[in-house]
Amino acid sequence: MNLINTLIAGVSIGAIYSLIAFALILVWRSTRVVNFAQAGQAAFSTYVGLSFEKAFNNFWLALLAAIIAGVLVGAFVEVVIVRFIVKRATSAATVTVAPVIAMLGLLGIFQGVMGLIWGGEYQAYPTAFSRDGLTINGSQIPFSQNDLFVLLTVVAAMSVAALIFQKTSLGLAMRAAAFAPEVTRLSGIRVSRIRTLGWAFAGGAGGLAGVLVAPTTFIAPNSFDLLLVFGFTAAVIGGLDSLIGGVLGGLALGIGLSVVTGYLGGSYTFMTAFVLLIVVLLIRPQGILGARGARRA
């Protein structure tokens, strides 16, 4: 029973890792950049949501605002900064290093701006549903209505994304652009726009993840940094190129960490994530579902 409880407890946080992994993978596929600024973008979007929450006292409006803010910020970052950086970094020595550092700079700017606007103190974010554990057969489990809401929302968001990717021509263009940008351009598709869209989608996913996770972590300018580390780990576990892999990686990580925390204690959480990441990178570099030979990007 205890093991089952621990597993259940990991599902909803795993869903959030999946969402972050999804955002990172989307950006990676479109631009070959790991967006380390995603933590800042997500926090920024969540703050926008919190402002709406405070002004209108409506969770759903705030959620919508956070997602829209995420989309806009994502698109903005791609159009104004990333495009320029990617174009400039051409030599072998800089092409891999420059985007990473640029994203860190961006993260710093985001965090500073958030501090200026909203202050540095930890703020609570409300939930839409009760956080009391559900009762099943008279015993309470560590899974609340709100956890269920998080899980269902992530599943819904992923289903919509899957639908877009698999069934629409936009999705086709996005998949094609991810793997063969030149062929896609030669097919008459504006790849630069597809890129912007990828960043925008990722930004929206980040905003959604932020609002879903903020009630459990509080919100502060840097409160999503660790979420990013976990999201990245999840993405790598799944293989940075595979959206489904990232989603599964997130769930696996969430459940795995929950088990470790439950049985060994909270101090081992980060260490476990780190060891897991290194082991996956070394033993199966392409991730669980990733394509071969992708690791040395």
């Binding site: 030599s91 020595a93 891999t96 700017i109 965090q111 260490m271 290194i278």
Partner: protein, 329 residues
């Protein structure tokens, strides 16, 4: 690309003399500066060593690291443990820090040598988060409060006349000077040339008989040793070794300093260290009467914006860009 341009840099002897002169200037100069500046000087020296470690790894060997703070932590904890558990004298612990961090770097380097770009960045990022958190899990490391690491006072009868800040500054500056001299010697040696060759073109370097994997692991090891020294200097300035001293923010700050100073040359490290220590201070004094928020966040924004700009305008670092400019004209 493999033909690395012949260096017209001064020889090892000349460099040593130069370092001695710098040392004398700092030494004498430290008597005419107020204590807070001296304290900041010690911080600059500690950051300088940390930035040198990044320049070696990222600038010369081309391996990116977001987790240099973790190696610093390894060095610092080793030093503090050596004092606490074995009662070793402080000066020996500096060597222990270097060795422990280098050993650790070698182990990590063997795994990291297979990674590049964003994967390496992500792995070192997780490392930066994981290592300090581990300190909370191992009781002997003293949890969040950490371990004491006190370099104490100047020896003998000078204990009363030499202020602890001056003593601190001297030790940190000495470490920094030694570190820079050794780093410059490494980079102008065959080892440094190997690293740059691998960075420029791995396959081509391999065809020239360089083992890229070994070269990368070596760079990781050496860089980690420097990081260990940086960690122990840094811990000396605050008197303790604790997880909160080695945050992600520290790792990012060092990388920022390395980039802003110019990642491709050791000489940039000093500028980088000064920037990351001084900019926040300058802003604090400017915004004295303004709200606390501006003083807290504006320096971060400015430094990050500079980072972004320098990457956008000169992806290879300002010094490399200048060099290119010179070649053009």
């Amino acid at each position: 690309m493999l033909v690395v341009r012949s260096s017209h840099k001064p020889s090892a002897t000349k460099r040593t003399i130069l370092a001695l002169i710098v040392g004398i200037i700092l030494f004498v100069g430290s008597n005419f500066i107020d204590e807070y500046r001296i304290f900041q000087g010690a911080q600059v020296a500690a950051y300088l060593v940390g930035i040198v470690s990044i320049v070696l790894l990222t600038g010369y060997s081309g391996q990116i690291t977001l987790g240099q703070g973790a190696f610093m932590a390894v060095g610092s904890y080793s030093a503090a443990l050596a004092v606490q558990e074995f009662g070793l004298p402080i000066w020996i612990t500096f060597f222990i820090a270097v060795l422990a961090a280098a050993l650790f770097g070698a182990i990590i380097g063997i795994s990291a040598g297979r990674l590049s770009g964003p994967y390496l960045a992500g792995a070192t990022l997780a490392f930066a988060v994981g290592i300090p958190a581990l300190a909370n899990a191992i009781p002997i490391l003293g949890g969040e409060q950490g371990l004491s690491f006190d370099i104490g006072y100047a020896p003998g009868k000078y204990a009363d006349t030499v202020s602890p800040y001056k003593w601190l500054f001297w030790i940190c500056a000495l470490c920094a000077i030694i570190a820079v001299v050794i780093a410059v010697n490494i980079t102008s040696s065959g080892l440094g040339r190997q690293w740059r060759a691998v960075r420029a073109h791995e396959t081509a370097a391999a065809l020239c008989g360089i083992n890229p994997a070994r070269s990368k692991v070596m760079a990781f090891t050496v860089s980690s040793g420097f990081a260990g020294l940086a960690g122990v200097s840094f811990s000396a300035t605050v008197g303790l070794v604790s997880p909160s001293g080695f945050t992600l923010a520290l790792s990012f700050l060092l990388l920022t300093g390395a980039i802003l100073g110019g990642i491709s040359h050791i000489s940039g490290a000093l500028g980088g260290a000064i920037i990351v220590v001084i900019i926040p201070t300058v802003f604090e004094s400017w915004t004295e009467e303004a709200s606390l928020g501006v003083a807290t966040y504006l320096p971060g924004i400015i430094v990050s914006a500079l980072l972004l700009l320098s990457i956008a305008l000169a992806p290879e670092g300002p010094s490399e860009a200048l060099h290119k400019l010179r070649r053009k004209h």
